[in-house]
């Protein structure tokens, strides 16, 4: 295959990947989840006020809903918000861009691992069209950025081992550290991967100067994070979701069994090709992480991988084996987001299997390519249909659907009205902040008064339930329905229509409907004495 043809094909694949990621990025029909709003809003808040939602100036680790999240996504989103303003597209654009760049990175990684331009092209194509890659590129997922950084780190590491040029090693370390600023999983996997990869080299101790230099570089780059490692901001997320933090944590002697069952779950064909994530928010109707037709290709790929001894096979195996560990150490079954680093090596194996299939069927290669092309086209179309048409019907509630319409309605109301949002989790405030309903400075003042000096120091709920005329809390409807001059916003599963219809003192101002036609929100206004 000529170089020009490879470049042209790769450009075409990247373009296809970009279309699949950016098409209807701002309006996927599902909604805009609170975690997305938190990442997006904090970027906007930093841009417009120089501080986050708590009034904290340029934090090292961000705090939202008592969950601490890493800063890279927020800081890198600032220029996008500068260009696009506080929009859903702006919040998701970085993830979509990272997902598109991952296609190119995957091409180079595959080339380094398998020394085959064809496998590299197939890998790029598979990343461009894979359900997991499309899904995580179409939402505000900082893990997608982490995956890109980690993959670039792996690529540079491979370049280093193939050329023995030290610059690649230092750049590789820098990218691994960057991935640790993007998402929690690489904080565990990246140091382990580098450590194991170093120790696995022949006479590795002879290069001790290089390793020590790399260690100090990593240390230097990690200093801001390390300064918080002993505070809840540094460890709360890892400890909070771990296997041992559950109410019914397994006894010590059962921990290996528990861990192994969770770990193997990440290699289960049923999970990878059928069931998908246990959390409905990360599920597309009818799809899992990969397409079902990729299962035989994965098996062929694995068989080929072990049959042909590739030079850098051990690094590939380290990546494959280490990637699911952070997810398996948490109590949740098959958490695709925490295991996001796993899916790229699996995709590479699928690509290897595809190449082997073409080799095995070389006599009818053109037919196989044609059938594959039609199959991929159908799969992608069906996946998009599932993602954009079916999933919004079944998963809208898991995606906080309707808060943009709630926000728009509140904006149009007289400013004298009190607004109470029925939300036991009190997390809906972030949607109103993102949609510019609550003035940022007003929220920052209230939140910073509440959090004080405890920003990094505690994971307790330290955020205001009331900011000016806005309240976010559980509503005690029987006792509050008589309040005057108030707008109540109820998710439809929190209040039956029979509880407000027929009351002359209440007016159902608006019903927001879900994509499937069910009521999503009831917005009720209490009628003042003067207007009675």
């Amino acid at each position: 295959m000529s170089k020009k043809l490879v470049v042209a094909l790769l450009a075409g694949i990247i373009l296809l990947g970009a279309i699949l990621r950016f098409y209807r990025l701002g309006d996927n029909g599902l909604g805009f989840f609170r975690d997305e709003a938190a990442l997006g809003f904090n970027a906007w808040s930093l841009l417009s006020t120089g501080a986050d939602e708590y009034g904290q100036k340029f934090p090292i680790i961000f705090r939202s809903f008592e969950v601490f999240f890493l800063p890279a996504y927020v800081y890198l989103s600032i220029p996008i918000f500068f260009l696009l303003g506080p929009t859903v597209i702006a919040a998701r654009a970085l993830s979509a861009t990272a997902g598109t760049l991952l296609i190119l990175t995957c091409f180079f990684i595959a080339k380094e691992f398998f020394k085959s331009g064809k496998v590299a092209l197939i890998s790029a194509l598979l990343v461009a069209v894979s359900p997991w890659a499309i899904f995580y590129s179409r939402g505000t997922f900082e893990g997608n950025l982490a995956l890109l950084a980690f993959s670039v780190g792996v690529y540079l590491w491979l370049r280093f081992t193939n050329t023995d040029e030290k610059k690649y090693f230092f750049f590789s370390v820098a990218f691994f550290v960057f991935s640790m600023y993007s998402y929690q999983a690489p904080r565990f996997v990246a140091p382990l991967f580098v450590g194991v990869s170093i120790v696995s080299q022949k006479s590795w101790w002879k290069k001790w100067r290089l390793w020590i230099s790399g260690f100090f570089l990593a240390l230097l780059l990690s200093l801001p994070q390390l300064s918080l490692i002993a505070s809840p901001a540094g460890y709360h997320r890892a400890v909070g979701v771990s296997l041992f933090s559950r109410e019914k944590a397994p006894p010590l002697y059962l921990v290996p069994r528990e861990f192994l069952s969770l770990y193997l779950h990440y290699f289960s064909p049923s999970n990878l090709f059928w069931q998908g994530d246990y959390n409905p928010q990360r599920k597309v109707e009818g799809y899992s992480v990969f397409y079902l037709w990729q299962l035989p290709l994965l098996l062929i790929g694995a068989w080929t991988f072990f049959k042909k001894k590739f030079k850098n096979a051990k690094y590939f195996l380290f990546w494959l084996a280490l990637a699911p560990i952070p997810a398996a150490l948490t109590a949740d079954p098959f958490h695709t987001y925490r295991a996001i680093l796993l899916f790229l090596p699996l995709t590479l194996l699928i690509a290897l299997g595809f190449r082997e299939l073409l080799f095995l069927t070389s006599k009818m290669k053109n037919l196989v390519i044609l059938v594959s092309f039609i199959g991929i086209l159908y799969s992608v179309s069906a996946y998009l249909f599932g993602l954009l048409e079916l999933t919004p019907i079944t998963r809208w509630r898991d995606w906080d659907y309707g808060y943009d319409q709630v926000s728009q309605f509140i904006k149009d109301q007289p400013s004298s009205l009190r607004v109470v949002i029925d939300d036991p989790n009190t997390e809906s405030y972030i949607h109103l902040l993102f949609n510019q309903v609550i003035p940022i400075s007003e929220y920052q003042t209230a939140a910073s008064a509440k959090v004080g000096n405890e920003y990094y120091k505690t994971s307790a709920v330290l955020r205001p339930e009331k900011v000016g005329k806005f309240e976010f809390r559980s509503v005690d409807w029987p006792s509050e329905r008589g309040d005057k001059e108030t707008i109540f916003v109820f998710p439809s599963n929190r209040l039956y229509p029979s509880e407000f219809s027929g009351d002359p003192k209440l007016n159902l101002e608006k019903t927001i409907y879900s994509p499937g036609g069910e009521a999503a929100f009831y917005i009720i206004k209490t009628i003042s004495k003067n207007s009675q």
Binding site: L264, Q275, E389, L390
Partner: protein
């Protein structure tokens, strides 16, 4: 090899209760098609009318998917070694089929030099068993018993392999 198979069989809790598979070959295509049609009607009723619906939401796809889900369920290692943990299935009684330690034997079985001798049998038998799962939708503890065969063979190979280890050590000495 026979002795290793017998030892493995004796170690396997799946067989201790002497399960007798019931309804192994019962199939009701008519009922399945009807159920698939109903699901499709429900889905199509929810989404905006579109010509694409015919291609992406249709009863043959729905019916095949239902059966494929059972096949994939049976490919899940967790259902054999961890009694369905951490993702217990709905409508199936999750029971211990193999012990946790037998998983090690299973993995070691793949490294056995004698595997080549059984490779064809394992591939053909497993394929046929999965085809049967696809057609007859075997899910229960007793129904899936035919699927134990490849596991037993691999574990026996693993056990046999382990027994060669001390000999190797003796040679090294």
């Amino acid at each position: 090899m026979a002795i290793w198979i017998i030892v493995t069989l004796l170690l396997t809790p799946w067989l201790w209760s002497l399960p007798i598979p019931k309804d192994l070959f019962r199939v009701n295509f008519q009922e399945d098609v009807q159920e698939s049609r109903q699901n499709v009607v429900w889905k199509r009723g929810k989404i905006d009318p579109s010509p694409l619906t015919v291609y992406f939401v249709n009863w043959p796809r729905e019916a095949v998917n239902q059966r494929l889900s059972v096949v994939l369920e049976n490919l899940d290692i967790g259902n054999y070694f961890f009694a369905g943990h951490p993702r217990e299935r709905v409508g199936v009684e999750e029971r211990q089929k193999f012990f946790f330690f037998q998983f090690l034997l299973f993995i070691i079985g793949f490294t056995s030099p004698h595997l080549n001798k059984y490779k064809k049998f394992l591939v053909v038998y497993s394929s046929l068993a999965l085809l049967a799962v696809f057609i007859f939708e075997w899910r229960s503890f007793a129904q899936t018993l035919p699927l134990a065969v490849p596991f037993i063979v691999l574990m026996a190979l693993g056990l046999r392999q382990i027994m060669t280890w001390p000999k190797k050590w003796r040679i090294l000495r």
